[in-house]
């Protein structure tokens, strides 16, 4: 592993989800980039607050579905019509109606794989370690806490950022540093 690059964040906890969303929006308006919110459930308006582009999961899903369909049709036709053509009950060698069920099933399966692995890939999961886990209080993010993380160049003074967050109503603010993911 090459020299571990350090990475640090400013963490701020908010009382209610709405407070977190407003704070995030205001911080973004102030020009802060690369921020991230943490909450036990998806926040109403959270994505707009972070300025995220529309998710690419649907397109991955559509791609998966289409590849599923094509592979299914190709597989069945090649196997039963061209590689080992057999007269089955006088039915035509290429029985497209009979291929329909498996074509549908495979397109659904590949779409599901697309969605699942797309989600993991886009969110770069599984990622067991993240600097954010350094702070113990952050544990509440998965149950009832609402947090905001603001990236901070390591070593510089983060007091300015912390004060701004306090002014926006953060109940507690901490600074954490860890290996860059």
């Amino acid at each position: 592993m090459e020299a571990t690059v350090l990475d640090s964040w400013v963490l701020a906890e908010f009382g209610t989800p709405d407070a977190l969303v407003d704070a995030t929006r205001q911080m973004r308006e102030k020009g802060f980039q690369g921020m991230d919110t943490y909450s036990p459930y998806p926040l109403h308006g959270g994505s707009e607050a972070l300025g995220l582009p529309p998710s690419r999961v649907p397109f991955i899903a559509l791609g998966g579905a289409l590849t599923g369909m094509c592979t299914a049709l190709a597989m069945q036709t090649w196997m039963n019509t061209y590689d080992y053509p057999l007269n089955i009950g006088g039915r035509p060698l290429l029985s497209l109606p009979a291929w329909v069920p498996i074509t549908f099933e495979l397109s659904v399966l590949f779409a599901a794989f697309g969605i699942f692995f797309g989600l993991l890939a886009l969110s770069r999961l599984p990622q067991p370690y993240h600097p954010v886990f350094e702070s113990d209080a952050f544990r509440s993010a998965s149950t009832h806490g609402y947090w905001l993380s603001v990236p901070q160049a390591t070593g510089q003074d983060a007091t300015a950022v912390m004060d701004q967050l306090k002014s926006l109503g953060a109940t507690q603010v901490t600074l954490v540093t860890g290996e860059k993911e």
């Binding site: 057999l86 009950g89 006088g90 035509p92």
Partner: protein
Amino acid sequence: MNTKRDGVPSQDTSSFALPVVSDRPAPAADAVGEALEHAAANASATETGYGRTYWRSLEEKLGTPEYLEETRPEFPVGADLAPSGFVRREFMQLLGASLALAGATACSTRPQDERLLPYTKTPPEVAPGNPLHYASGMTLAGHTSGLLITAREGRPIKIEGNPQHPVNQGAAGVWEQAYLLSLYDPNRARVMRQGKSPRALRVLAEDVANLVNKAAPADGGARLRFLTEPGNSPMMGDLRNRILKKLPNARFYSYTAMTQDAETEATRALFGNQPVSARYDFAQADVVLSLDADFLESRPANLTYARQFADRRDPKNGALNRLYAAEARFSITGGMADHRLRVKSAEVLAVAAAVAQAIGGPAASVASAAAGKAQLRGTSEEVQKANAWIQAVVADLRAAKPGRTLVIAGERQPAAVHVLAQAINSALGNTGTTVHYVQAPVAEPFGLAQVRALVEDIKAGRVDTLVITAWNPLYALPSDAGLAELLNPATNPDRAKLSVLYTGLYEDETSQYVDWFVPAAHPLETWSDGRAVDGTVSIAQPLIQPLFNGMPESELLALFLTESYRPAYQMLREYWQGQATGQADFESRWETWVSEGIIAGTASPAASGAPDFGAATALVSGYNPPAAPAANELELNFVHDYKVFDGRFGNSAWLQELPDLITKMVWDNAALISPQTAKDLRLEPGAMAELSYGGQKLSVPVWTTPGLADGTVTVALGYGRNGLHEVVAKGVGFNANVLRRAAAPWFDGGATLTKASGSYKFSLTQTHWRMENRPIALDMSVSELAHPSKETEHILERVQGELKPGLQDNLPSFDYGNGYKWGMAIDLSRCTGCSACVVACQAENNIPVVGKEQVARSREMQWLRIDRYFEGAESDPKMVMQPVMCVHCEKAPCEYVCPVNATVHSDEGLNDMVYNRCVGTRYCSNNCPYKVRRFNYLHYTSGKTSTEKMLMNPDVTVRNRGVMEKCTYCVQRIERTRISARVEKRLIQEKELMTACQQTCPTQAITFGSLNDKQQRVTQLHEDERAYKLLHELGTRPRTAHLIRVRNPNPALEPAKSEAATEGSH
């Protein structure tokens, strides 16, 4: 060399099968081989004869006590090694080499070393892998039918009828097809013993020699008696005469269960004590009246008669004949009858007398003698209907052209009925055209009278030595014959004075009480000859060396000549050489006799003189009929079983599992009563009942069959066996011989059937006998077929109509234009339901037997079933038989549902069943509308002994558990014929390729061939207007066409047009 065999000397090959029939010229003689063989032959020969030294080594081994108690007795060294060539046709390996997933195979996938054992000296005609065919014969109860046996690598695997034999004409019955089972049966006796201790042949030979040398001078053998099967073998006849020349006062008696007592008694009366038998010709007969005569199925001449009768049932061969039958039980001939009268067996005499009276002429005088002996009983309405029936029959007999009718009396009927029948025949001028009197092939009398004389001799103490070669007399004889009491030491105080020698294939009921027991060599292990029913002699040559060191009957009797030992082959050749003195070149004529299987020109000559009815009337008036059954009593009928005959085939699993031809019952017999009688006696089918008659009691379960005569109970012989080692037959069914009395061996009044406690579970392969007016087995009169009624037209449309594309058929048709287009045609008019095809299929395709319990759970494995439907009123129905096997549909419903391509259509229209690919989802069987597929629910082919394995056809995979199987149109025969045809670059001829069922069918009801060839019989049958497809409306396009069964009813007896089918509940 690691397969050390303990010093078995080079076999004396002289008694080995001579090279006979091989369609190939013998390959270039192995010159070196012959030279070496000559050298070996001239070496100082050990004692000549049947492997004499062999017996000595066996004697030491036999002496050891452990040999006897061994539960699965080992058999002689070497006999279980497959003679040569390839033994790998074992079972389909569970984890075949083709198993792709190495993970699931054993660590090393190298199959355990499989050995190839070549010959040391290859017999010239044997090419390992190719079958050879030998003509041979099977002697059953005094008649020998000609066989053609296929052998592979030195062991017989399949029996067919000999095409050149005048009686068989290529066909074979159920007993011929199952004959190999008795050859390979591991239960066969192996140990010659005196009392309890094993003995060698030398000891027996010495005993017999002392007996003969002592008896000959003293009393000329007066105290020596023989009880044999009827002697239809010329060689054995000659042997008998030479023994009588040595021991003039010895007496030969012969007995077999299938006695023609009555018929021989009648012909003796008619022909002044000359041994004469009547032969019939159904080809000429337009009107046939059967008086309780099951001529289509009961031995010995049923194969010829069935063929002739069936030819006259085909509308293509001109006007149909008409068959009337009067009988108590429902027989195969009754099923084929146009009009069947249900009448008690005792009343058949009344019917015969009434017909004879009406016909007049010599018949009338005989009839007057029979008057008052029997009259039709039953309600007035029944009697009136019977008389009307008789009037119609008489009118029909008279109306037919003279010499074109035939009346036959059954073997169960008394001599009086036979005399009446012959009288009617001569009155109608049939002698010479449909009836021929010939000298009886079996000259000396055989039957119960013989046994009565023997029992008298023994009781009077005139016998001290009894030699029994007849089959199991203690079981087969009626209970009061008296022989059992004499042989059983418990019931016969001076039993010690009598010494009994018995030879048989099995240790059975008789062998318990004998002093000497000699295990018999199976007839296919030795040389013999025998006359068929028409007198033709056929040479029965062996197919294999004796498996269980049995001794041929001829060599056993030859011991009584105390001459030097001669093997059976030598005796046979010398006899026939003696017969052919004067003619030149006996060697080549012998070759042709043995290769063709028959000796031409040995048919029985015509009898001299004409039947003298005057003398016969004394016989008729002398007959005292059985007492009329009182109100609550029934008439008890004994019949031969269609499957186990008189019990001698009881140990054959194929026959036990063959569904009974009428009741479709397996592994059982029952007290059969008519539904009406069951209601009267308040008996449910399957209820245990107590049948008492003549002071004896038999607890037997009841079963009802439509069409039986009311007031009668019928029990089949041959069951309830408890032979010492006959494991398969033990405990199957109920022994009817317990009730049987010598006075009335076939039927008698005075039987009572009372309900006993408990019920009995029968196993049936077909539980529903009605067609629920579905167009399945079409059965109509010729006139109806000529101009069908509205309703019949609708039915014909459903089974023959053209399927309109788009409406009923939306699949494009597949092009089978070039190459072969295999198809089959089954003519229901010809099919009598004799089920020989079912056993032939089982023999050809290694089909396992599953046992009674599995058949009760409806898992029988036969690929071919005969569906027996009853139509009309439950009391007096018509019966129609329909063989159903896989019909190889072109639009097969089983193929598109198989997930692994295990059942696929071949380019020639065969529905291939690939056993090794089948995973066993069973969807194909569910989707088959004909339900002809069979599934190996358990591993039915496990636990086979080495001799049972030798029976397997090496061209057919032996299926494992979890695999589906079905009729394949004998694809192994198609492929073998195709390969030989393609090697010779020619097309397959029609004659060359027959399926196993087609080849054995006595009436040629089944035809197979290529539908692309217009000349083939199967194509003509497919285009016949009677041809229809089973379940045609489902659009499966079967390749097997059934032909409508046509009847030829007598308009006088034809019931009102719309016969109200009063379907009973069932």
